[in-house]
Symmetry: C2
Subunit: 441 residues, 2 copies
Amino acid sequence: MDGIAVGVVGFGTVGSGVVSLLTRRADDFSRRLGLPVHLKRVADIDLARPRPVSLPPGMLTDRVADVLEDPDIQIVVELIGGTEAARELALAAIARGKHLVTANKALLALHGNEVFAAAAQAGVEVAFEGSVCGGIPIILTLRQGLAANRIEEILGILNGTCNYILSQMSLYDRPFAQALAEAQAEGFAEADPTLDISGEDTAHKLAILMALAYGARLDFDAISVEGISELDPLDLQFAREFGYVIKLLAIGRNDGERLEARVHPTLIPRDHMLANVLGAFNAVHLVGDAVGPLLLYGRGAGMLPTASAVVSDLLDLVLNLRHGVRRRVPPLGCEAALSTRRAVKPMDEVVTNYYFRFAALDRPGVLSQISGILGRHEISIGAVIQKGRQVKGAVPIVMITHEAREADVKAALKAIDALPVVSPPTVMYRIEDPHLHAAQI
Amino acid sequence: MDGIAVGVVGFGTVGSGVVSLLTRRADDFSRRLGLPVHLKRVADIDLARPRPVSLPPGMLTDRVADVLEDPDIQIVVELIGGTEAARELALAAIARGKHLVTANKALLALHGNEVFAAAAQAGVEVAFEGSVCGGIPIILTLRQGLAANRIEEILGILNGTCNYILSQMSLYDRPFAQALAEAQAEGFAEADPTLDISGEDTAHKLAILMALAYGARLDFDAISVEGISELDPLDLQFAREFGYVIKLLAIGRNDGERLEARVHPTLIPRDHMLANVLGAFNAVHLVGDAVGPLLLYGRGAGMLPTASAVVSDLLDLVLNLRHGVRRRVPPLGCEAALSTRRAVKPMDEVVTNYYFRFAALDRPGVLSQISGILGRHEISIGAVIQKGRQVKGAVPIVMITHEAREADVKAALKAIDALPVVSPPTVMYRIEDPHLHAAQI
């Protein structure tokens, strides 16, 4: 075998990183693999746009067919983003017997089961390390490194834009809109940041991590999602007084029978490893039944970090081709995953600790009315802060609860918000704090 | 194929963890692999010792030959520890065409090149995820996950005993001897802690990580090693005043031509991710040219965390056997590594920042004499703290230097320690602080 030919579709930021690595590190890769990897074609609809790397004449094409129909090309790298066109491309490559490398989390979250089923049918591989947390080898860790474990819990900071905004809000008491504008100015947020700040991008990634961790089909629709655009710096300050920071967390958990799958702003203790993940960095904190707690931390996006993951995937596929082995490790870790469904707990049945901020009119007996309603809904209070200062004509009462059921919390807050002495809506966030659990046992 | 038979040699703590996982998770592993893994024999010289798991009658033996001579057993798990007996066992298993899984860092640091060469000759695999940082998948990350990267730097907290002692000294101002006694009482240090506190165990692990990161033969003897037993809580306090914590770090670095390889107590900035690694936890902070900074954090030792790594290795080897592929990824990442040597910079040529604590007699002109000698040795001072309080009849003068050459530092300290106004020996530690580098550029 003289080498393996590769085609790249999508010559944007990550595509440029992949081309750059494949070009300048060709000798190192040959040495590692025992045979060369040839970048044969690069396809992009925009031929003219300036890019940080240049290609030899004739390599760049605006016809995807030049990649798909080339019989030499054994591996297609999909980097066009989006979902519909990417889905067509992925299925077309697979149908032609080509292996697929992608960094497209939206594609996998929405169409992953279809793509993986087609790949199983065709006997080809799909690799997607770049789809979650840039260059952090979290897919490899879940698919192979922790194979001996049952994963009990995943807590992830999976979106650099949100984490940058929250870090700015927390460190400099910025309002959300200003922190977003700064993130845009620094290149950490897109002109249209909806996909990031809504939590949807984080949920795409959580769907992928959970399929791997729990050996089951992707189930994006089962994930409950809340974004960060409503966050008030006031709550970051109160959280700090209780010893917490607020992060947009992806939470996956296995209670033995059902899974929890949710994305929302979350209070975590200041001394948790995830609390120190600042700026555009990403991190995943896992608990495995054997390995215990494990954290992976690094850059979650960017040209070279994501290209690092894409090219590592590519090199791994080349090793398989060289050794004549296919699907040694299937995309989701085991072949049975694609026919396995795991039930996800409805949000109403989730039991956790809560943070509430009530806007109370400054009259005697308000706290007693609020705590009375909470008590009738089986919600007990762990700590309270009541400040004299007024915010918009009301006094904030801030509480941390013991473990409570989400449905009870919703019902209690509805009743409290109907009180004449409370100015709705009450602010509610969930807390992830292992010490709070322990304290109640 | 009806399944793969495995033999375990060494039924101590980690051996019990491996037996436990292989027994209670057998169904999960079958599902993942598509075929069962059979634990066939367990060998240990001590048949009687009480253990947390029990074996079916006839499985335990005190004869290693019962494992080595069993033609069914395709994978031998070496968990006896030590070096000479482990080396003989490893070579004997390899000579019989059996694949080897080991968690023995001393074996690999001292005899790894020999073991790997024998395995290459015999065409068998050697897997050793459990040898460094317990269940943290750092070997997998370096061998496969970062294949697209040149590793620029490795900073590791690789020994839980030392990190536990340093955490206690730092958090509670304990003297070393008391922190060590506490670590022993808590089960975080052995009755004879020499291998840990001397830094030697950390150096064993660094040798393994560097061979993987730099694609070269193991070179344990080239690592410069200092332990933690001389550390004075006073220096942890002064370090704190400068914004640093002190950790026993393993440092591997590539300057493009030569490598740095050293283990010593090191000042790192309080806001560095490694500064938050407390107690018996381990962590590795890497910088790859594409991925940028990356941290992996978790439990570095213990029955189940280490068994997690050993069994994950085992499952990976079973996949290779099932798919009829051998040495798809060689032990050190590429076959060429074993014939590649990388030059290591002598300690005298290392350039870094330093922390000094001088014990000065309280007379005028002392600081000027000290700084004069430093200046004549090309060492410039970044910051100084001079306290009025006396320690053992002298006044501490504490300094942080700009970048200096180790040979110059040694010569300067020798000259300073000869001054009549200084009470030797001067305390010296090295600093890893990216901001200090940046500030000088």
